[in-house]
């Protein structure tokens, strides 16, 4: 027999533990959970777009708990102001000075619920913090905690009372995923087990403090061969040459693609990135960035699959 192929999945890794714990809370969404974890390991922000009630908030909550991180939730509404997110300075009479009361954004994991319900002004306050990893309020720049991970959810934009995020701001999210309805077996288990929100709170942390940063840098160090870069560039070129898209993927999207593929390979326990990793993360990376020229809406997963199938490996 030929020798054993390398790269088995390392069961003892903390990542497997994280995935197990999360899967116990959110049933039947292994792929989406992995993707969310990959996004986090790649130091990216995650946008979950789906109908209300499919478990977006639960996912964010559970991830934060499993990773042992400070979690806060902001429910976006149309009358929200930037100060409601960032925080405000209050004049303290005793000390005769202003004191900054940090807003809910100063947390490790921020769940920005229904982000498209807020006005663009408020949205951009959040997005600026996401991009710059700092907020500026009343002339003072305050750094965000590290790690800083935003999970935003939004309802599909055709719902009433929504301000869809502009493309430039969508680009700040490394990934956009959808959760979708649970499958039959998972839904049955859900119904039998009652509401799961309580379980999210009861989950214990799997990671020691500082461990996440270490995992993130390990993920960033996964080897990328020239042949893989060739493939990534071929994919990029394909998105740019494709007439059905308004425009192709930006260099920032390319960096996000590579970082996400690295994280995906890392979760898989591999020391190098394979084309499969790129193909797996590509829809999550590309769908919210590519717009169809005909309808103006985002690209479907079929469009991405076709793109992949038209791009040979070598």
């Amino acid at each position: 027999m030929p020798t054993q192929a390398p790269a088995p999945l390392r069961k003892e890794s903390p990542l497997a533990e994280i995935l197990d714990a999360t899967n116990r809370v959110i049933l039947g969404k292994d792929g989406e959970i992995r993707m969310a974890l990959a996004c986090l390991l790649a130091r990216g922000h995650l946008l979950i777009e789906d109908l209300p009630g499919v478990g977006k908030t639960t996912l964010a909550h559970t991830l934060a708990a499993v990773l042992g991180m400070r979690f806060s939730r902001i429910q976006f509404t149309s009358d929200m102001l930037p100060a409601d997110i960032i925080g405000i300075s209050i004049f303290e009479r005793e000390r005769s000075s202003f004191r900054f009361i940090p807003g809910p954004i100063f947390a490790h994991v921020v769940l920005a619920d229904e982000i498209n319900r807020a006005t663009p002004k408020t949205q951009s306050a959040l997005l600026e913090a996401m991009e710059e990893h700092q907020v500026t309020s009343e002339g003072e720049t305050r750094p965000m905690p590290d790690p800083f991970f935003v999970i935003a959810t939004q309802n599909p934009s055709h719902h009433i009372g929504a301000y869809p995020l502009p493309e430039s701001q969508l680009d700040r999210f490394m990934m956009r995923i959808a959760l979708g309805y649970p499958d039959h077996a998972a839904e049955r288990a859900l119904l039998e087990g009652g509401g799961r929100r309580e379980s999210a709170a009861s989950v214990s942390a799997c990671l020691a403090p500082g461990m996440l940063a270490q995992l993130q840098s390990q993920a960033a160090a996964v080897h990328v061969a020239p042949a893989l870069l060739d493939y990534v560039q071929a994919l990029l070129a394909a998105t740019r040459d494709e007439p059905r898209f308004v425009h192709g993927l930006s260099p920032r999207a390319a960096l996000a693609l590579l970082a996400a593929a690295r994280a995906w390979a890392f979760i898989d326990g591999r020391a190098m990135v394979l084309p499969e990793d790129v193909q797996t993360v590509l829809p999550a990376i590309a769908r919210h960035r590519l717009r169809l020229a005909q309808t103006g809406s985002g690209a479907g997963s079929d469009d991405i699959a076709e793109l992949v199938q038209r791009t040979p490996l070598s």
């Binding site: 030929p2 193909q279 490996l313």
Partner: protein, 662 residues
């Protein structure tokens, strides 16, 4: 684009580079000064030691100093830095020193290019089959070095087989170029001037020992193919220089006198004369004589018959050449010889050899034929012996030989005989050349060696012209009839070249020389004329080198364009891992498992495991090796493993189908 950091030479490539340096340089050690070979060897050993120790390379100033010193020493040794020998010595030195600065891949490339160049210089010294084979092998090694440099770490076997494949693929092309590449006769293809040194052969003077030293050599002087049967040995006198002038010690050939004497000789041929035609492949000997069989009637172009009856070329024979002759074996030459020639043929230095003069003086007045017989019977009756190890002769060499030593070989007999003839008033001269030859039963060529060198005498008789008299035959008839080996007395050690007693050894030598001869005839002797013949036979008509250049250029252009287009279509060349993986996928395709061209290795393996569990293990292993090779840090073991998978897949069907049918 930013300037890229030059690619460093990886450590594993160094043994290949050193092997290439050694292989290209080593054969030159035979003719370069010993100090240079020792220096080169020391440098290479030093480099090997540095490699083993993983030590850093010596500083540049030290290398510059070493190289400058080496160049200066070469200049001092050869008194020049130009020409064949000094130039090759320089290249040799550079080749040994270059591994000392293997820093970047560019350095390695310089070494390889230097290697190709140095390889060519071997042809300045020898163009034999072993040299050709060595060069082919070394060129393959250089290809292997390039493969190693650009292909990364692989097993020596895979590098070697790829290099061999490349060389084999180049073979038809080189054959085509050999046949069709325009050959221009002229200095372009010539060797450097100093390439002709050290060629052995007859010289323009005959001093005691000059021929006996030649006889020690088994080197081939010429190869002759007769149109019909080979004439008897005793008729095979190949005429070289004719010695007219004697100063008591040395016989010399006189430069051809101007005027009437150099006019074409008059030759009368008997009606029933035996005539032979033959083609003679003459080795280079740096002299003008062409060593025709006495007496040539038709000469090759550019040659003429001298007043001394020898076929003379216009230029010295500097390279092996093919000459066509017809000769007649029965002839009367120069019945009316010019008086000054006859005068010269009677010249003797005063004050030498009084006893021989006295002996010959007693014969004066008799008929010339009688005098010749007296002299020959003098040799026959007195106990003369034929030996290659004659005693040293004193000032009166002829006297010593005739009356004291009485042991000698052809040059002694011919010299003494001519001395006696001249002293007795018969015009005579010494002729040097080769006598006899050996038929190679393998290819039917008559091979004449340096060991067949011979000297004989010629006397001029009124009304009969110049007549050959071979006094050696009077003493040792076997020399003329069977060759030197049989003429020597028992117990005398034969020259090395003649010690081929064992039958198998003789057969082996015949075979080897026949192969060499074909090489000479067809490879080295592929002259512009032969090329024209070949082209005519190929139906290309009378293409001269200009039309040929044009045609070849056009053909090369078309081929290159086609290759370039094909290259564009196929994209960049495959790396070995990619190549093997595609082979593996072809094997699976034959079993109905088609990998989409966008499908990654592990994804494909997973699909195969799903569809055909019996192939799962094999495909997973192959995909793992390939993934690591192409996208990770794969090593030679992975490539070996992948190749094994390809082989397993190729041999799988019977086993696997058997398994699935259970």
């Amino acid at each position: 684009m930013a300037k890229a950091e030059p690619a460093p030479v990886d450590r594993g490539a160094l043994p290949w580079l050193l092997a290439a340096a050694l292989a290209t340089a080593a054969p030159h050690a035979g003719h370069l000064p010993v100090w240079l070979s020792l220096l080169a060897g020391a440098l290479l050993l030093w480099r090997v030691w540095l490699w083993r120790q993983n030590a850093s390379l010596p500083p540049r100033w030290l290398l510059a100093l070493l190289t400058l010193a080496g160049v200066a020493a070469i200049g001092w040794q050869y008194r020049t830095l130009f020409g064949r020998d000094a130039g090759v010595a320089l290249l040799f030195l550079f080749m040994a020193a270059k591994p000392m600065e293997m820093r970047t891949r560019r350095d390695a490339l310089v070494l390889v290019m230097l290697g190709y160049f140095l390889l060519l210089t071997h042809f300045f010294y020898a163009q034999s089959i072993p040299v050709g084979a060595w060069l082919l092998a070394t060129a393959t090694l250089l290809s292997a070095v390039l493969i190693r440099l650009y292909g990364g770490a692989q097993t020596p076997r895979s590098i070697g087989s790829l290099a061999a494949k490349i060389s084999l693929q180049a073979l038809p092309l080189s054959l085509l170029l050999f046949l069709l590449f325009p050959r221009v006769a002229g200095p372009l293809w010539g060797l450097p001037q100093d390439a002709h040194a050290g060629v052995s052969g007859l010289s323009e003077r005959m001093a005691p020992g000059s021929i006996s030293s030649l006889i020690q050599s088994g080197a081939i002087a010429m190869r002759v193919r007769f149109a019909g049967a080979i004439p008897p040995q005793s008729d095979l006198y190949w005429r070289g220089p004719v010695f007219d002038d004697y100063d008591g010690q040395t016989w010399r050939a006189l430069p051809a006198p101007a005027g009437r004497a150099s006019a074409a000789p008059t030759v009368a041929i008997a009606a029933d004369a035996r005539s032979v035609s033959y083609a003679s492949t003459l080795e280079a000997h740096n002299q003008r004589w062409l060593l025709a069989l006495d007496l040539p009637t038709t000469l090759p172009a550019g040659a003429e018959l001298s007043g001394r009856l020898a076929a003379i070329a216009r230029e010295p024979v500097r390279s092996r050449g093919l000459y066509n002759f017809s000769s007649t074996l029965d002839f009367v030459a120069n019945r009316d010889e010019a008086p000054e020639v006859l005068q010269q043929a009677l010249q003797l230095p005063e004050g030498f050899n009084p006893r021989a003069r006295a002996l010959a003086a007693g014969w004066r007045g008799e008929a010339p034929g009688q005098i010749i017989n007296r002299a020959l019977s003098f040799f026959g009756e007195q106990s003369f012996a034929y030996t290659l190890q004659p005693p040293l002769l004193g000032r009166d060499a002829v006297d010593d030989f005739l009356f004291a030593a009485r042991r000698g070989f052809c040059e002694h007999y011919a010299g003494a005989f001519v001395f006696l003839m001249r002293a007795a008033g018969v015009p005579a001269r010494v002729v040097a050349g080769y006598q006899g030859g050996e038929e190679n039963p393998v290819d039917g060529y008559l091979v004449v060696r340096q060991s067949d060198a011979h000297a004989w005498a010629e006397v001029w008789l009124a009304g009969r012209g110049w007549q050959r008299v071979d006094p050696t035959a009077a003493v040792a008839p076997a020399r003329v009839e069977q060759g030197v080996a049989s003429a020597l007395p028992a117990g005398e050690e034969l020259p090395l070249a003649m010690r081929f007693d064992a039958e198998w050894m003789r057969a082996l030598r015949y075979r080897w020389e026949a192969v060499n001869n074909s090489w000479n005839q067809w490879v080295l002797g592929y002259t512009p004329e032969r090329q024209r013949d070949t082209l005519a036979r190929l139906g290309l008509g009378k293409a001269d080198w200009r039309t040929l250049t044009l045609a070849l250029g056009a053909a090369a252009g078309i081929a290159l364009t086609a290759l370039t287009l094909a290259g564009f279509r196929r994209g960049r060349p495959l790396d070995p891992a990619e190549h093997e993986w595609q082979r593996f996928c072809r094997q699976l395709r034959r079993r109905g498992l088609i990998r989409a061209d966008w499908e990654g290795p592990l994804a494909f393996a997973a699909r195969v495991a799903d569809e055909r569990p019996e192939l799962a293990a094999l495909t997973t292993a192959a995909a793992g090796h390939y993934a690591v090779l192409r996208y990770g840090h794969g090593n030679a073991d992975n490539l070996v493993g992948l190749r094994q998978c390809v082989r397993d897949a190729a041999h799988a069907p019977a086993r696997l189908f058997a398994e699935t049918s259970i």
